[in-house]
Symmetry: C2
Subunit: 223 residues, 2 copies
DNA sequence: CGCATTCTAAAACGGTCATTCTAATTGGTA
DNA sequence: TACCAATTAGAATGACCGTTTTAGAATGCG
């Protein structure tokens, strides 16, 4: 090394997350990222090989931070606490939360997928998070046979309850940009009380629809 | 009128929804839309004043079709059936479903908001759908005082249960592009059994977290 | 039968963006 | 101190996109 870098990789990543969080993926042009950092456009290319690499790195940073907050709780078999942990994480990560929870990767990487390094790291992160879900289910069921004998439905239920549903509860408020109202916590807690991930002790195979008829037989659109 | 049009407004709208559903908003360039229809680029401007107008019209078409399927059930006070009605609607509207349910308006209109005609129609549609939610809550509570005395939390709960949560259940499968597995119906039904929109008869003020402690007191990130 | 009007058709324009290029600068090291 | 690779700095390039323009074709009406 001979010259000390003035702008770090993290500077560009932070600027990218802020721009996407505020104005959507299209707002994060290379020139906008550079301007926000105070650097010339070309400097980004000394750290990242392309725009897709910057977006990929930003996504991995946000996703990594998020999963690091939830994974330990999942491994301890505490799905409800994991779902609730999304709240403090969102409050403490303004930029990151809006960036990660308001945009699907599809819309971020639609034009060009991120290059190999970022793609591989994302695969690692996703695999680790998936493993945490499976471990959580195994713990809740008191499984000794490991976390492999899970059907697709069980995993989908867990991901919905711990990940997608809390995010759906938060999304309207993240979008409006204000602070999260206190009732979002109540809603997540109620959700987990009424539709548990998996029963701890034997509690009957499934809660089953309690009133107003079973789950089968959707009426068609009207009446 | 003097010359019969070869390409209709609906042609361009349909192509737009298909392109966005397949490749995200950036895939729906004016040239791509025209190419898919088989028309020259300029022809679109005989029907729409700008790209934002095309996207807005497409959004309104999809959103209108969706709300027309749900609103009657809401007005009848059948929130569970409304949530379940999203399933057949999605199966019958491949393009539309992926377009509407996989993309937030924020990411569609980030650069330029749609012009007045489309913006106004969207406001009408949103107001009508909002009214349906309020009506549903009023019916469920047996309210005689109308649908105005609703707190923010009640409305947020209803929208989550009937709209956002079912969509969150469907999203992974819409993304993969395959057919919807049968267990998504069970999940929606269970959700409504465990966390009802509003009790029909007096059933106690709130279900309250049944086991493993009340809703208050989130542990911080670990342990 | 021709004309006004609405459309198709395709090329052209202006702007923006990602990326590259050239030159100047920096600061640890020999 | 003199060097030199890594970096800053900012302009230049080439591609693509939304929109406009120009020209020609079709059709109902007088």
């Amino acid at each position: 090394m001979v010259r000390t870098a003035r702008y770090s990789e993290e500077d560009f990543i932070e600027a990218t997350m802020a721009l996407v969080g505020e104005g959507g993926p299209a707002a994060a042009t290379m020139q906008a990222i550079a301007r926000r950092v105070g650097a010339p456009t070309g400097s980004i290319y000394h750290r990242f090989e392309s725009r897709a690499a910057v977006l990929g790195a930003a996504w991995n940073a946000a996703y990594g931070s998020f999963t690091r907050a939830l994974a330990p709780l999942l491994h301890e078999g505490r799905p409800r606490d994991a779902a609730l942990a999304i709240l403090p994480w969102s409050r403490e990560n303004g930029h990151r939360a809006r960036f990660l929870l308001l945009h699907e990767p599809v819309t971020l990487f639609e034009d060009t997928p991120p290059p190999a390094p970022q793609r591989l790291e994302l695969e690692r992160l996703e695999e680790a998070f998936d493993g945490a879900f499976r471990a959580c289910l195994a713990v809740r069921r008191g499984d000794t046979q490991g976390a492999d004998a899970l059907c697709e439905e069980e995993l989908a239920r867990a991901k919905f309850l711990i990940f997608d549903a809390p995010i759906a509860i938060l999304r309207p408020h993240l979008m409006r940009g204000g602070t999260l109202p206190p009732f979002v916590e109540r809603m997540i807690a109620e959700l987990h009380a009424g539709m548990p991930v998996a029963a701890t002790q034997a509690r009957g195979p499934r809660p089953a629809a309690s009133h107003e008829g079973g789950p089968a037989g959707i009426p068609s659109h009207a009446a």
